[in-house]
């Protein structure tokens, strides 16, 4: 109980307590009895083959899905006790990056990033100040007026990362962020994620990319058929690969 009361600073930012997720009409659970903690400021790789439960894990953290069993705490909040109208406030503390970038094609770089602040009602003066800062952070100086289709895949992913980070979230979830990007460009993406991580933001990245995991030497959580089969600090993708 006291964990819920105490501020988000001291407890783990993500806490899974015996979490099982069973989708309707499926015999095998997507996640089964998962126990894990992610501490503030950590960089975590979530690895495992397709269907191992990585995406389900991320969706549960965002409260896009509810667990069938078990408890989840995110940023000090018990998700089971979070009312629907409070969910947006949870999501403001979590940034998201996807394999397919999910940019708005009719908006330019600046507008795409500003959109994330506009829709949560931030004042215009604040937006004018922070958006250029974050554009610099992800390395898109001088490209603020480009449209998404004028950018390379790597650049589009940088825009998506800027959008996810512009509100200074506590957690950044990245679902295969390098999945559509060639290895050379991926290194740049990982540098940006690392830079974001150094600001104190917890980063959880689901990936298939063994080379990246091996080169970063961060904590690795491996899922298989919905179960945690390995949780290793400073780990590699896996011996078998």
């Amino acid at each position: 109980m006291s964990a819920t009361q105490s501020s988000a600073c001291d407890g783990p930012v993500i806490h899974f307590d015996n979490v099982t997720k069973l989708y309707p009409n499926q015999s095998r659970p997507a996640l089964e009895s998962v126990n894990l903690d992610v501490e503030k400021g950590e960089f975590v790789f979530l690895v495992g083959p397709s269907g191992s439960g990585k995406s389900t894990f991320l969706r549960l953290v965002l409260k896009e899905e509810r667990p069938s069993e078990g408890r989840i705490h995110v940023a000090g909040k018990d998700l089971a006790r979070l009312t629907n109208w409070k969910v947006p406030h949870l999501r403001r503390r979590i940034g998201c990056v996807f394999q397919d970038f999910r940019l708005l094609p009719q908006k330019n770089v600046y507008q795409n990033i500003a959109f994330a602040l506009e829709v949560i009602g931030k004042p215009r003066r604040f937006i004018r100040k922070v958006v250029p800062e974050v554009i610099d952070l992800v390395g898109l100086e001088g490209k603020r007026d480009r449209m998404p289709d004028e950018l390379s895949g790597g650049e589009q992913q940088r825009v998506a990362m800027a959008r996810a980070f512009v509100n200074r979230p506590m957690i950044l979830l990245a679902d295969e962020p390098t999945g559509n990007i060639d290895p050379a460009t991926s290194i740049g993406i990982m540098k940006v994620l690392d830079r974001i991580n150094r600001t104190g933001t917890t980063v959880v990245m689901a990936t298939h990319d063994a080379a990246i995991v091996d080169s970063m030497r961060k904590r690795v959580i491996e899922l298989e058929y919905g179960k945690v089969v390995r949780d290793q600090s400073r780990g590699v993708y896996g011996q078998a690969y």
Binding site: L62, N84, W85, V87, P88, H89, L90, R91, R92, R93, I94, G95, C96, R102, L104, F115, A116, E118, V119, I120, G121, P123, R124, R163, A164, N167
Partner: protein, 303 residues
């Protein structure tokens, strides 16, 4: 900032499915106009009823030399004694409030006044053509008119008993029927409008699913996600209402006022009646589009 952002989103939404929006505006306009016309009919009928309620409710026409009905042919013109007898009998009835005698001279003067626009008709009529009568006011409603008429009909010296409701009932039936038809069509169209609003909003939500999914992802509140759609529906409703208001003004000034021209009595609808109806249709229109958008969004834009 917030307002500007929302109106920008609304503008994009309305522009992106323009054909749907136009269809929506037209259907809302027609359904509201029909509803309003129905209400104007109701008011017209009410006004006509109160007009007659305050007037003479029963006329007992007496026999004169000029009248050749079988009733009068038997007895001849009503004598002074018969008239006194009739008046006494009427006064004795519990339903009757006042009885006044209208002489032939007075009746002719009234006739000339009522048909003043038609001098040819007046010239053809002689002073003695219009019989004298007793004008009877009833205590309660028009319902008693039949009873009073029954009891005095056939008394010596009485030619015929007329009461306006016997004539107006047909007219009322016509107006009531027209009103009911208009209201039924309006209700059908309102249902169509509701379905169209739901569809338009659904299409709009589908067109902007990228935006809304990102909005939800970055933690925009439901209010922020839904408001542009809600405003979109309501703006279509307001445009529809503006068109409907114009149509209603036309209905009143061209339709109902022209209808009035056929009757010699003066029961015009006032402008305040029209304004009342227009305001009512505004409320119906905004509620209709707003509530439908809201309910549709609850289904399609969940957290």
């Amino acid at each position: 900032m917030r307002a500007q952002f929302i109106f920008h989103e609304v503008w994009i939404g309305l522009r992106r499915n323009l054909t749907m929006t136009v269809a929506l505006v037209v259907v809302v306009a027609i359904s509201l106009a029909l509803l309003g016309t129905g209400l104007l009919f109701v008011k017209q009928v009410d006004n006509t009823r109160t007009y007659w309620q305050g007037r003479v409710q029963l006329s007992v026409y007496l026999c004169t030399a000029a009248i050749a009905s079988p009733q009068c042919a038997k007895n001849g013109p009503a004598t002074a004694a018969e008239k006194a007898q009739i008046q006494q009998q009427l006064r004795g009835l519990p339903q009757v409030s006042t009885v006044t005698y209208l002489s032939q001279g007075q009746a002719f003067a009234q006739f000339k006044q009522e048909f003043a626009q038609d001098p040819a008709f007046v010239n053809l009529t002689n002073r003695g053509d219009i019989p004298d009568s007793f004008q009877v006011r009833l205590k309660n409603t028009q319902a008693d008119a039949g009873i009073v008429a029954e009891s005095i009909n056939g008394a010596p010296g009485v030619d015929q008993v007329l009461y306006p409701s016997s004539i107006l009932d047909k007219f009322y039936k016509l107006l009531d029927g027209a009103r009911n038809a208009v209201v039924v069509i309006a209700i059908i169209l309102i249902i169509a409008a509701i379905l169209l609003v739901a569809n338009t909003i659904r299409l709009s939500a589908f067109n902007r699913r990228r935006e809304t999914s990102i909005m939800r992802l970055v933690g925009a509140s439901n209010f922020y996600v839904q408001l542009p759609f809600l405003v979109e529906g309501m703006i279509a409703g307001i445009f529809g209402w503006l068109l409907a208001a114009a149509l209603l003004v036309a209905v009143k000034s061209l339709g109902l006022n022209a209808l009035q021209g056929y009757f010699s009595f003066d029961v015009q609808l006032r402008s305040s009646d029209l304004i009342e109806v227009i305001i009512l249709t505004l409320i119906v229109g905004v509620l209709l589009t707003g509530a439908t958008s809201f309910l549709t969004l609850r289904r399609y834009l969940r957290v």
